[in-house]
C-alpha cells in the first residue's frame, strides 16, 4: 500500500473530482488496444488510406457532437478532418516514408514539423492549434498500426501528459469526472472542454505521471485520485482523511455555486444591504455577451488597445465609432460603459505611431503622455466616442490611463471638448455629455487625489500598475513576485488616500485591477470605501458571494486592521477570516 502523494498544478477549470484514474498515453500503446494494421502495397498507399480513414472518423466525431448541440467543439473536428488529408502534411509524410520505409514514424515527424511551425507563430490561438496537428498525426499513426482507443469503462479522472480533443470527444458523456495533465496550458483544448462540461481540470502537474504510473500494479485496480480544480491541488491515492477533505470541498462548492446563481439576478450588496456596483472588464466588443450573462451592471474597463494593435495603419474614426457603438448598445442606458482611451506605449509594437524605443517603457511616453506631442490619436478616439454615444443614445464614460498630474487632466478635458467642437462644427450628432474620469495608477495621481477629484467625474484605480509603481517592482520580473501583491498595506494606504480625496469632492471610486476580482481583495476594497468593482466576467460570481457574507461594520474593521498590517499575507488572512465568517 503506497501512501498519498500530494501534488499541485495550474488551476484550469474549477470543481472537485474524486475517482479512479483513466490513464491516456498518446506515445505508447498503453491507452490503445491492437486491431488490424492497414494493409497496403506501399508506404505511400498506406499513408493515404490511413489519412482518408482518419478524416472520415474525425468528420464522424464532428457530426456526433453537432447532434449533441456542441457546435463549437464540432468545428475543431471539421478542421482536424481537413488536416488529416492536407497536402502539406501528407506530401511531407510520404516523402519521409519513401526514404525510411516507416510510415508511422514518417507521419509523426511530418505532423511534428507542421505543429512546431504553428507553435512558433506569434498568435496564441493559432499556436494552440499545434496540439490539434500532433493529435491528427497520432491518430493516423493509430490507424496505420491498426489500434483502437481503450476508453474508460467507469466514470474516471483522465490522467495524461496532454489530452487531445479527438480522444476526449470519444469518451461517453458522464464518464469524464475531471482532467489532470502533467503538461498542457490553461488554453489547452482539454481545459476549454472541461469548462464547457463543468468538470475540473488542472494542468502542469509536476510528478503526476510518475506518481500514477509508479503506484498502479499491472493488471490491478486503477489508482484513485482526488483533485480541486480551483486550488490546483491533486492527491494520488488519497487517504480516508484526505478523501473526506475533498468531499467536504465538493459540498462547499455546491453551496457556493447555488449562492452565486441566486445572487446573479439581484443588485450586489453586503449582508447588511449596502449596494456595491459590480461591473465587468472587457477587451473587445465580443466580450459583451459573456459580461452581461455573468450579471455585470455595466463595464468598468473597456480596453481599446485591440483597435490599435496588429495593424499597419491607425483605425479610422468610423471603425472606432462602430466598435464603441456595439458595446454601448449591448449594455444600454441603464448599464454604464467606461471606455479607456488607448493605453499605448513603447513596450508595444505599433508600427504606424513610430514610437521611440525607450529604456523603461513603463516609465516613458505612454498613453496620455503621447498626446502632448501628438494629439490626433486621442482626438480621433474621443470624436468616435462622442459619435458612438449619440448613435447608441447613451451617455458614454471615458477615462484616461497614466494620468500623473493636473496638467494631464486639463489636457484630457481640453481634447474632449475640442473633439466635440469639431463634430458640432461639421453638424454631426454628438452625445449629450461625456462622463470623464481618470485611472489612478501613478503614485503622484494618488497623492494629488484631492485636487484631481475636483476636476473630473470619477476615479478608477488600476491596482496592477499602481502596485508596480508604489513598490517599484516590475510586473514582468518573476524574481520580484513577492512585491507584486496589491494587498500590500502600502498599496492599500494609497487607495485609502484616493478614496478620501474622492469623498471630499463627492465623486465615486472604482477599482478595475485584478485585486477587484479576487474575493478577498473585493472585501478589503469595499472596506476601504471603494464604490465599484470591475473584473473579468468569470470573477463576478465570487465577488458577489464574498460581499453577501460581510457586513459594513465587519468591512470597516477589516480595512482598519489591513491598513495597519505588516504585509500582504497578513491582510489576506484578515480578509479570509471575514469571508469564512470567523473574524476574531
Amino acid at each position: 500500500m503506497t501512501s498519498s502523494v500530494r501534488l499541485s498544478g495550474v488551476a484550469g477549470s474549477p470543481g472537485i473530482a474524486i475517482g479512479p484514474v483513466w490513464r491516456f498515453d498518446a506515445s505508447a500503446t498503453g491507452g490503445v488496444a491492437a486491431g488490424g494494421p492497414v494493409a497496403a502495397a506501399s508506404p505511400e498507399a498506406a499513408i493515404r488510406a490511413a489519412a482518408t480513414e482518419t478524416a472520415r472518423q474525425l468528420e464522424g466525431l464532428g457530426d456526433r457532437l453537432r447532434g449533441l448541440g456542441r457546435d463549437a467543439e464540432a468545428a475543431i473536428f471539421d478542421a482536424q478532418g481537413l488536416m488529416a488529408t492536407d497536402p502539406m502534411l501528407l506530401d511531407d509524410a510520404i516523402r519521409r516514408a519513401s526514404e525510411s520505409g516507416d510510415p508511422v514514424e514518417a507521419v509523426r515527424q511530418a505532423a511534428t514539423t507542421v505543429a512546431d511551425m504553428l507553435a512558433a507563430l506569434d498568435d496564441e490561438i493559432l499556436s494552440a492549434r499545434a496540439a490539434d496537428v500532433r493529435d491528427v498525426g497520432a491518430r493516423i499513426g493509430r490507424v496505420l498500426r491498426g489500434e483502437v482507443l481503450h476508453l474508460p469503462v467507469v466514470p474516471s479522472v483522465a490522467v495524461a501528459e496532454d489530452l487531445p480533443p479527438s480522444v476526449t470527444a470519444e469518451i461517453p458523456p458522464g464518464f469524464l469526472l475531471g482532467i489532470a495533465l502533467s503538461g498542457g496550458s490553461r488554453t489547452a483544448h482539454a481545459v476549454i472542454l472541461a469548462r464547457s462540461l463543468g468538470i475540473p481540470a488542472i494542468v502542469g502537474i509536476d510528478g503526476l505521471l510518475d506518481a500514477v504510473d509508479g503506484s498502479t500494479p499491472s493488471g490491478g485496480a486503477p489508482v484513485a485520485i482526488a483533485m480541486d480544480g480551483e486550488s490546483g491541488e491533486v492527491v494520488v491515492r488519497p487517504s480516508h482523511r484526505l478523501e473526506a477533505d475533498f468531499r467536504r470541498r465538493e459540498a462547499d462548492l455546491a453551496i457556493r455555486r447555488a449562492d452565486a446563481a441566486r445572487l446573479r439576478d439581484r443588485p450586489p450588496a453586503t449582508a447588511d444591504g449596502e449596494r456595491v456596483m459590480v461591473v465587468a472588464n472587457i477587451g473587445t466588443p465580443a466580450d459583451s455577451g459573456r459580461a452581461l450573462a455573468a450579471g455585470a451592471e455595466g463595464v468598468g474597463l473597456f480596453r481599446t488597445e485591440f483597435l490599435f494593435m496588429s495593424r499597419q495603419t491607425p483605425p479610422t474614426e468610423n471603425e472606432q465609432v462602430e466598435a464603441y457603438r456595439r458595446v454601448l448598445e449591448a449594455f444600454g442606458p441603464e448599464r454604464p460603459v467606461v471606455i479607456r482611451l488607448a493605453d499605448i506605449g513603447g513596450d508595444k509594437a505599433i508600427p504606424y505611431l513610430r514610437l521611440a524605443a525607450e529604456q523603461n517603457p513603463f516609465l516613458g511616453v505612454r498613453a496620455i503622455r503621447l498626446a502632448y506631442a501628438n494629439p490626433d490619436l486621442l482626438l480621433t478616439q474621443l470624436r468616435a466616442i462622442w459619435r458612438a454615444g449619440a448613435a447608441a443614445g447613451v451617455v458614454p464614460h471615458v477615462m484616461a490611463p497614466m494620468v500623473a498630474t493636473a496638467a494631464d487632466v486639463e489636457l484630457l478635458l481640453s481634447l474632449r471638448d475640442q473633439a466635440r467642437e469639431t463634430l458640432v462644427g461639421k453638424g454631426l450628432p454628438v452625445a449629450e455629455r461625456m462622463v470623464t474620469g481618470i485611472m489612478v495608477e501613478v503614485p503622484s495621481a494618488a497623492f494629488l487625489a484631492p485636487e484631481l477629484a475636483r476636476l473630473i467625474d470619477f476615479f478608477s484605480i488600476g491596482t496592477n500598475d499602481l502596485t508596480q509603481y508604489v513598490l517599484a517592482a516590475d510586473r514582468g520580473n518573476a524574481a520580484l513576485a513577492g512585491l507584486q501583491d496589491a494587498l500590500h498595506p502600502a498599496v492599500l494606504r494609497a487607495i485609502a488616500g484616493v478614496v478620501a480625496g474622492a469623498d471630499a469632492a463627492g465623486i465615486p471610486v472604482a477599482v478595475c485591477g485584478e485585486l477587484a476580482g479576487d474575493p478577498l481583495g473585493a472585501l478589503v476594497l469595499v472596506g476601504l470605501g471603494v464604490d465599484e468593482l470591475s473584473a473579468d466576467a468569470g470573477s463576478l460570481d465570487g465577488i458577489r458571494v464574498a460581499l453577501a457574507r460581510a457586513t459594513r461594520p465587519q468591512l470597516d474593521e477589516l480595512a482598519r486592521r489591513a491598513l495597519a498590517a505588516p504585509d500582504a499575507e497578513a491582510v489576506r488572512e484578515l480578509a479570509a477570516a471575514v469571508l469564512a465568517g470567523t473574524p476574531d
Partner: protein
C-alpha cells in the same frame, strides 16, 4: 490569373473554424488558389491546405492577397472575396 487584397475581419483571425470554411470553399474550385499574408509578408500558401492557411498567421485586421489561376478563376476570386467580407461564417459584429 486574377488577384485581389482583402482584410480579415474575424475576431480571432483565420483560426481553425474559419480556416476550415475558407479551405472548403477554395477546394470547390478547379483553379489553383494561393494566399499571402500581406501584413506579415509571409510566403504564399496553397489556399486549399488548412495547414497552409493557418500557417499564414492571418489575424484580425491583417490584409491577405488571394491569387486564383485556372478555368474558374473569376468565380473563385469573387466567392472568396464575398466569404471574407462576410466574416467567413463568423459573426464579425458579435
Amino acid at each position: 490569373m486574377r488577384t485581389d487584397e482583402m482584410e480579415i475581419r474575424n475576431p480571432s483571425g483565420l483560426h481553425a473554424r474559419p480556416a476550415a470554411l475558407f479551405v472548403k470553399t477554395a477546394s470547390g474550385f478547379a483553379s489553383s488558389i494561393r494566399l499571402e499574408n500581406v501584413t506579415t509578408g509571409s510566403p504564399a500558401v496553397d489556399a486549399k491546405s488548412i495547414l497552409g492557411v493557418m500557417s499564414s498567421g492571418a489575424a484580425r485586421g491583417h490584409r491577405i492577397r488571394v491569387t486564383t489561376d485556372g478555368a474558374d478563376e473569376a468565380a473563385a476570386l469573387d466567392t472568396i472575396r464575398d466569404l471574407v467580407a462576410a466574416g467567413i461564417g463568423e459573426d464579425v459584429d458579435g
